[in-house]
Symmetry: C2
């Protein structure tokens, strides 16, 4: 008996049920129309102070929260941003994510994360995501995958939502880029090693097709040139930024008869894996071989020995990317490219070579006059 009529009596008591409070309930309680409630929230200056006060009171009383699906449907905005990244479980990205999240949160946006996981299938899925109007914009941390290898429809660029590329610049696309100067940083580290006296500097690379990698590799060569050192392909070891690939590079070095006196790894993970392998094989770091990294992850400082590396402002990178995207979403002008500064962090893993070896034999016939 009590049930009859319960449906259309949303008076003041919403006590028992967990039925959501609608804008109409608020309107009724505040004795205004739904339009006024909506305006009181979206553009308070368009509503009289008294009405606004009543509305706010009613909202407080009912605990009203706007239904975002409805809002999104009507206004074609979702207050959601998609973040696409290649590997969620990578230390490097997670701090960037935090920076992104902070900024988005401040601006009232939510963050949807998708771990691309190297699968084109997933990639297509997330492209569809953007097409489905589920997000207002996206931040891409995976330049080389998205909209590049695949040109099929559904790529976010096609859907026309604002995009921002973070870290891995997409050369062709004309979307804003937030990044560090990978080339310059790699060059500087190489020169740093050279300035300490190293003549034979190995380079442990990232994945060959990775855009960051390409830039860093060029930077490495720049650095060699600037230091007057020859480039030796035999000193380039393949890697993919993971600890394991660093370990493998280490095994390679351990097995060599003539070893470089320094190794520049393009990620801290690889550097740590490399050091580990060298130490296990009885080599000393930095006495026998200096090791440098890239990124300055938290563990770099507590590695043994502590890792000399290039500091990337990861949180700031994330924040900058989010800021630019927010500007874009709100129609504000925004810079097309932001480059944040890196810094060489000098720690114990790099030192001058212990015993200066004879000049490298194989390359670039510089008129080597044997000193007798």
């Amino acid at each position: 008996m009590d049930e009859s009529g319960a449906l259309d009596r949303p008076d003041e008591d919403n006590g028992s049920g967990h039925r959501a409070v609608r804008i109409q309930d608020v309107a009724k309680l505040a004795d205004v129309s739904t339009a006024t409630v909506s305006r009181a929230l979206a553009s308070p200056e368009k509503v009289s102070p008294e009405a606004r006060a009543r509305v706010l009171e009613a909202i407080a009383k009912t605990g009203y929260v706007p239904n975002l699906a409805a809002r999104s449907l009507r206004s074609q905005k979702t207050s959601m941003v998609l973040v696409v990244l290649p590997d969620l479980s990578n230390t490097f990205f997670s701090k960037i994510l935090r920076g992104i999240e902070e900024r988005l949160f401040e601006a009232g946006y939510g963050m949807i994360i998708s771990d691309l996981d190297g699968s084109p299938e997933k990639e297509a899925h997330f492209a569809a995501f953007t097409a489905a109007g589920r997000v207002d914009g996206a931040i891409l941390l995976n330049g080389h995958l998205f909209g590049q290898t695949r040109e099929g429809e559904g790529t976010p660029a096609k859907t026309g939502i604002p995009l921002v590329a973070l870290c891995e610049a997409i050369p062709s696309a004309d979307i804003p880029q937030i990044e560090i100067d990978n080339r310059a940083a790699a060059s500087r580290m190489t020169q740093h090693l050279a300035s300490l006296g190293h003549r034979s500097i190995a380079y442990v690379s990232g994945p060959a097709h990775n855009i960051l990698e390409k830039e860093r590799f060029i930077g490495y060569q720049d650095g060699l040139k600037a230091a007057g050192l020859p480039f030796d392909p035999a000193l380039v070891l393949p890697g993919d930024y993971t600890i394991e690939s660093g370990v493998m590079a280490g095994q390679d070095l351990v097995g060599r008869t003539t070893r470089p006196t320094a190794a520049f790894c393009t990620s801290d993970e690889m550097a740590i894996g490399l050091m580990r392998t060298l130490l296990s094989a009885g080599l000393r770091v930095p006495e026998d071989i200096s090791v440098a990294g890239f990124d300055d992850i938290d563990f770099a400082a507590v590695a043994e020995p502590a890792l000399t590396t290039i500091h990337q402002p990861r949180r700031e990178l994330g924040q900058a990317a989010a800021s630019v995207l927010i500007d874009l979403l709100q129609g504000h002008p925004s810079p097309k490219r932001i480059r944040l500064e890196t810094e060489i962090i000098v720690r114990a893993s790099v030192a001058p070579p212990q015993n200066i070896e004879k000049a490298p034999a194989k390359s670039t016939r510089t008129r080597a006059i044997k000193p007798t």
Copy 2:
């Protein structure tokens, strides 16, 4: 001139504009009603094979993607899951996240992440999130914060959406728990250390009010008891799972005159920070002091020395939590509690104590008969 009538002629060409394809466009092209299109997608068995074929063709031709805001508004489902965690930039969580994401993706759900960042303000925000009908369910990795310290309205428990607690069990709430047996694991590690001959085992704790921490601490005490060792409060060092707190605990140990022969840290980060500090001070690990960790993060294996620790199946934990939540969302029965197995990973950082010290002097007056 060309423009007139352009609006209501969505015939077959959607070529130029990036206006989204609606279900009506598909219906028109397939010569069926919108209802049939919807059915062809949601419940194909309810539609004739021919009609379905035509619909699918039309969808393929137009590149139709359902508008999720509309679907969500009508069906009161969002295909979105909220993941709330205390710290996005923590290595430990990121691998769990990956497990969650994988599973959610398979089931067609998207993942919204919120880094709680220890701020109640944010917490309230995300509670509102769930209330706003933005997500169908949530996975909580922060038992001690959410719905516990604050009992205010808007806590997700109040909104009635399905929840799953991951790792940090919420004792009071009757929501499914996915976890490891922290107490047993800590006990086992403690006994492992004792079985090697350690009589004085330090414990580097997590944050005092953390639920994990409480369980592990009890486990530590269990382990001591099982090994017949006394509990000594002086051997309990405060920490908060971070590298820094491990460093500080290390400094504490270094400064002591009588040191424990082993230290059990409740996170790998702390263990690595601790080892680092000990090594810097000239102590040897494990010769002077053994160090054990908890979690088995990637860096544990390449620490120097390699870290003995407790392996947590983080990815599997994430997957399990997602699976349970999905079951809940789809009305399937699901287990109330899942406990995944841990495993002690024996590496180089733990060894029998080098020189057996005299029985601990201060505690529990066991009738100590001096052997002359």
